[in-house]
C-alpha cells in the first residue's frame, strides 16, 4: 500500500531524512517512532506530497507521490502535527468545507459530516467556533477532517500529543477502530502509543531507520532478553543460587540480594524455568515468596536502538 524507496530530504546542507526505505501492506498499522527531530514529520510530509523529496521514490496504492500527486491526495487522510483549522469557522462549516475539497459527493456531505462528528465524539458541537476549542477538541476535529472522505490510507502525525490521559485513551480507541480496514501510519515519540496501537514499529533517528520490526522483535533486540526474578526462602547455609543454577535449562543466575532469610535471584533462561524452580524448592523444603517474568519493554528497546546510534 505504501512503498518508500531510498527517500531522502535535504534542507541545504542538513539531511533531515537520509535514504530510508520501507513497505507497508494493506491493513497494517505502523508506528513511526523516534526522538524529536528524527525526521518523522519530514517523512510524513513527503508521503503526503506536501514537500518534495531530494531523492528516492515513494508511492501510495501504486501511485507515485511525486508524479501523480492528485491520485495520492485522493487516497490519503492526513492529520498534520498541528490540526489544520480555520479559527474563524465553526466545526460544522469547517468539516463541510473539507468534505467539499475532499471530493465527497454533494449528496453525502451532510451525512458524512454528522457521521465523523459522532465518531470523534463531537455530536452537537456543530456551531462551536474552532478558535475557541481546547487542544483536545482541536485534535478531534483534526481527526474528523482526516477521515471525512473515508481514505484507504491514514497518516497521523502525533495524534495524541498534548492531550490529557482520558483523551489519549479515547483517541487511541478511535484509531484502533479505524485501523480495522485501513492502512495507518502514525508517528509519535510516545512508546506506549505504538504499543497500544501498532503491530509494527519503524524506529527512525537522525534521519535513518535504525529498526523496522514487530514490537516483540524490537523487544528481543535488547541485549539482555527475558529475565526472571525469583525470591526464595531457604534454610540457613544453603547456597540457593548454586542449586538453581544447576537446574537444566538455566543459563545464568545472579544473586541480587538477601534479606530476612529471603534470597532474591536474577535468573536467565531461554524457556520459562519457573516450574522447575518451584519443583526444586518444594523438593528441598524451601518457600517460594515470588517469581516473576521481566520482559524488556519498548522503552528499553528504543533507548537501546537510539542510544546505539549516537
Amino acid at each position: 500500500m505504501i512503498a518508500v524507496d531510498q527517500l531522502t530530504k535535504r534542507f541545504g546542507a542538513f539531511t533531515a531524512v537520509d535514504s530510508i526505505s520501507f513497505e507497508i501492506n494493506v491493513g497494517q498499522v505502523v508506528g513511526f517512532i523516534g526522538p524529536n527531530g528524527a525526521g518523522k514529520t519530514t517523512t510524513m510530509r513527503m508521503l503526503t506530497g506536501f514537500i518534495p523529496c531530494s531523492g528516492g521514490r515513494a508511492s501510495i496504492a501504486g501511485h507515485d507521490v511525486f508524479d501523480d500527486p492528485m491520485s495520492v491526495r485522493r487516497r490519503i487522510g492526513y492529520l498534520p502535527e498541528t490540526p489544520p483549522l480555520y479559527p474563524e469557522l465553526t466545526i460544522g462549516s469547517y468539516l463541510r468545507f473539507v468534505s467539499q475539497i475532499r471530493e465527497v459527493p454533494r449528496s453525502e456531505q451532510v451525512r458524512r459530516v454528522g457521521d465523523v462528528m459522532e465518531r470523534v465524539g463531537l455530536s452537537g458541537w456543530e456551531n462551536r467556533i474552532l478558535g475557541s476549542l481546547s487542544k483536545g477538541y482541536r485534535q478531534r476535529v483534526g481527526l474528523a477532517q482526516a477521515i471525512i472522505h473515508d481514505p484507504a490510507v491514514l497518516i497521523l502525525d502525533e495524534p495524541t500529543s498534548g492531550l490529557d490521559p482520558r483523551q489519549v485513551v479515547g483517541i487511541r480507541d478511535f484509531v484502533r477502530n479505524l485501523a480495522e480496514d485501513r492502512t495507518v501510519i502514525l508517528s509519535t515519540h510516545i512508546l506506549s502509543e505504538v504499543e497500544a496501537l501498532a503491530e509494527r514499529a519503524i524506529v527512525i533517528d537522525g534521519g535513518q531507520i535504525v529498526a523496522d520490526d514487530t514490537l516483540d522483535g524490537l523487544r528481543g533486540r535488547v541485549g539482555d532478553g527475558v529475565r526472571y526474578r525469583v525470591e526464595l526462602c531457604a534454610q540457613n547455609g544453603v547456597h540457593v543460587a548454586t542449586e538453581v543454577g544447576a537446574l537444566v535449562g538455566v543459563q545464568q543466575v545472579e544473586p541480587i540480594g538477601e534479606a530476612d532469610g529471603v534470597t532474591t535471584l536474577d535468573v536467565r533462561a531461554p524457556s520459562d524455568p519457573r516450574t522447575a524452580i518451584a519443583g526444586l524448592a518444594t523438593g528441598n523444603g524451601w518457600q517460594v515468596r515470588a517469581m516473576e517474568k521481566h520482559a524488556p519493554n519498548l522503552e528499553e528497546a528504543f533507548l537501546h536502538l537510539v542510544g546505539a546510534e549516537r
Binding site: R45, T48, G49, F50, I51, P52, M70, R73, R74, I76, Y78, P80, E81, T82, P83, P84, L85, Y86, P87, E88, L89, S93, F97, V98, Q100, I101, R102, E103, Q145
Partner: protein, 237 residues
Amino acid sequence: MNAAFAIFKKELHIYFVSPLATVFLAAFLFLAGLFFYLGVAMSGEASLRVMMGNLSIALMFLLPMLTMRHFAEEERNGTLELMMTAPVPLWALLVGKWSASVALCGLLLVGTLLFPAILAYYGEPDWGVIATSYLGLGLCCMAFVSAGLFASSLTDEPVAAGFLGVLVLLPFWLAGTVSEMVESDWLRVVLRELAILTHIDGFSKGIVDSADVVWFLLISVGFLFLTWRSVESRRWR
C-alpha cells in the same frame, strides 16, 4: 471547479464572520463619501471623476489589507498543509481566493452606487461615464487583489504581507509622477505606461480603450502567475 467554488465560499464566509469585511466596508464607504463630497462641492459638476480617481488610489492602500491574510494566514494556521494535501489543484486555490476578494470589492462598489443615485436626484449625470468609471474601478480591484495575493504568498506574517502589498503596488502609482521628471523619452513612455492613472483616466472620462482593459487584465494574470510560482516554490524551501 467545485473546489474553487468551495474555497470561494469559505473565504467570503471568513470575511464576514471576522470583523474584517465590516470594518473594511465602513472605511471604504466613508472615504468614498468624503471623496464624493469634495469632488462635487469643488467642481460643482454632477460627476464622479474626483471620487473615482481618489478611490483608485485609496484602494491601492486598502486592498492589500483585505488580501494580506490569504496565504500568510494559511501558512500560520497550518491550513496550507490541508490545502496542499487535499486533491485541490493550485489554480483552484488561487482562483477561489482571488474571486472571493474580487467579489467583496464588487460589494464595495455596489455600496457606492448611492452616490450616482444622489447625483441623479439633484442633477443629470452622464450614465455612460458612470458606467465606464465603475468598469475601470472594477478592473483596478482585480489587479490590486492579484498583487495583494502575491504579497501574501511571500510571507507568513499577515501584517507584513499587507505592507508588502502596498509596496508592490506603489511603483504603479509613482511611475506616473516619476515619468514627468525623467529626461529620456523612451523611459518616460515606459513609466507612463506602467502608471495606473494613465490607464484609469480613460474610464473616468467615459472612454473604454481595449488597451487599458488588456493592461489591467495583464497585471491581474501576471500577479496570479507570480503567486502561483511563489506558492509552488515555498514548498521547496
